[in-house]
Symmetry: none
């Protein structure tokens, strides 16, 4: 029922959980063979599911003895928040980045699923704002205030 990309994502995340080192090394071609697809499909999955915003770091090496390494980042909530707040205060913030932040906070159990969805919904509503610049600013404001609030409670 589910598609290739979803199954591959699930597979890789399972491997990550089982890995004591916190990262996994894979061979692009081997994985493609295992899932009966072209190698570039791996990049699609990595590019859509294992982004930095979602808390993953992907490194790779080409050529002989090449590999793709997927690492799950472990950051403390404090670091996360202060980094993000700095970014935000500096100006606006992209929609993608904002969502990444929310996702991370959820993974860190700092906010509940419902809270994370509420925040995402608030971001969504901003799509209705016509002006690009204003929207970015508003998004920054919104996210900052919500984060500050979460710190308080």
């Amino acid at each position: 029922m589910s598609n290739l990309a979803d199954r591959m994502e699930e597979y890789l995340k399972k491997l990550l959980i089982l890995s004591p080192s916190g990262y996994i090394d894979i061979k692009r071609k081997e994985l493609a063979n295992k899932f009966l697809c072209v190698p570039s499909q791996i990049n699609y999955v990595l590019g859509t599911r294992f982004t930095l915003d979602k808390g993953y770091l992907v490194e790779s090496k080409r050529g002989g003895k090449g590999y793709v390494r997927i690492k799950k980042l472990q950051l403390s909530v404090e670091n996360l928040l202060s980094t993000f707040l700095k970014d935000i205060v500096a100006g606006g913030i992209s929609d993608e980045r904002a969502r990444g932040i929310i996702q991370r906070l959820y993974e860190l159990k700092y906010i509940s699923l419902r809270e994370s969805r509420l925040m995402e919904t608030a971001l969504n509503a901003l799509k209705a704002v016509e002006d690009n610049t204003i929207r970015e600013e508003l998004r920054g404001l919104l996210l900052r205030d919500m984060l500050l609030l979460l710190i308080k409670f």
Copy 2:
């Protein structure tokens, strides 16, 4: 008496009753084929028969392996919410009324303190929007989407 839309409604409701999970997943195109109509007819049926007011929630995903999920809600607080929703959809909503709704939901223990604050914070951020009319609209959108979200989770 028995037009396409009615027959399709009946069919889907039958499926829902038979589904242990409380929801069903369908393929828009397949269903259209089964009923010998254009795909958009499915959207018409969903939009007229499976609305929130009637206790249904519809979610979907596009692209390969996409789907349309229809969920039957267990009514209770949902009733209350849909009442609020009707008000909101009618146009914008005042800041006061918005806060009133949030307060009410908190009192009913439908949302936590933290959740209520998050929602209020989101409303606050809108103060930065200059244009009065746009602000009202945006507030309506925002609150509506957040309430819809709460129903889902």
